[in-house]
Symmetry: C2
Subunit: 102 residues, 2 copies
DNA sequence: CGCTGATATCAGCAAGTGGTGATGTGAGAG
DNA sequence: CTCTCACATCACCACTTGCTGATATCAGCG
C-alpha cells in the first residue's frame, strides 16, 4: 500500500533555513549556539525553527549542562526516503494507467 | 557528498492537498476533471496547485484533446528518496560526532 | 544567593500562501 | 460560426508564517 507521507514532516523540511539545519545536523550533533554561528540567524529565530523541527518529530533534544544538543532522528528521514521510493516506483508504472476522459 | 535537497520541491509537497494529488497521480495518470472529482476541490483552486507542482518540476502536462493530463515525474521522487536516504545514513553516524560545547 | 550565559516563549509586524469568484482562452461538437 | 466545456489567469480577502525585540526560565559559577 502507498504509505501516506505526513505533510507536517515535509512542511517542516520545506523551509530553507530548517533544511540547512537538518543538513548540518546530519553531519554532527550540535547545540543551539553552534547553529546560531553556522547559520548566522538570530537565537530567537533559530529557537522557533528548532521548535518546529522538534514538534514534527524530526529532531530530539539532549540537554548537556546548560546547553541543549539537537540530534536528527534518522528513522524519520529513512521513512521519508522509503515513502518517496514507493511513490517513485508507483509513478513509474502509472504512465500506462491513464484513466479515460470523462 | 550530501546532495542538498531543493527546498522548493519539498515545499510544493508540503501542502496536504498537493500531497494527495501526488498520491493519486502515483496510481494513474489523470486530468484536471478527474482530480476535481477525487479531491472535491474547486477547479480554480486545483489549477493553482497544479501550477505549483508544475513549476516545482514534479509533474508534467500532456494535452489530450481539450483535456490536459498530469503525469508524475518519477525521477524527481526517486531523487528525493535518494537524498533523504543519504541524510538518514549521515544522521546515523552523526550521533557520535558531537561538537564540543563552546 | 546573585550574576551570567544559554534557551525558550511571547507579542507584534510584514510578507507569503491558500481559497474563491470573475474572467480569459482554446478545442471540439453541433 | 457559435456554443459549450476544460482549463488557466487575475484580483481580492483571510489566514498563516517567518522574523524581531522584549522577556521569562534555568543551569552553573563565584
Amino acid at each position: 500500500m502507498l504509505t501516506s507521507v505526513d505533510p507536517d514532516v515535509i512542511r517542516a523540511l520545506g523551509d530553507p533555513l530548517r533544511l540547512r539545519i537538518v543538513t548540518l545536523l546530519a553531519r554532527e550533533t550540535l547545540c543551539t549556539t553552534h547553529l546560531v554561528e553556522e547559520t548566522g540567524a538570530k537565537q530567537t529565530n533559530l529557537s522557533n525553527h528548532m521548535k518546529v523541527l522538534r514538534e514534527a518529530g524530526i529532531v530530539e533534544t539532549e540537554p548537556c549542562g546548560r546547553y541543549t544538543y539537537y540530534r536528527l532522528k534518522s528513522e524519520v528521514l529513512a521513512g521519508l526516503s522509503g515513502q518517496f521510493a514507493e511513490l517513485a516506483a508507483a509513478a513509474r508504472t502509472a504512465a500506462e494507467n491513464k484513466r479515460a476522459c470523462p
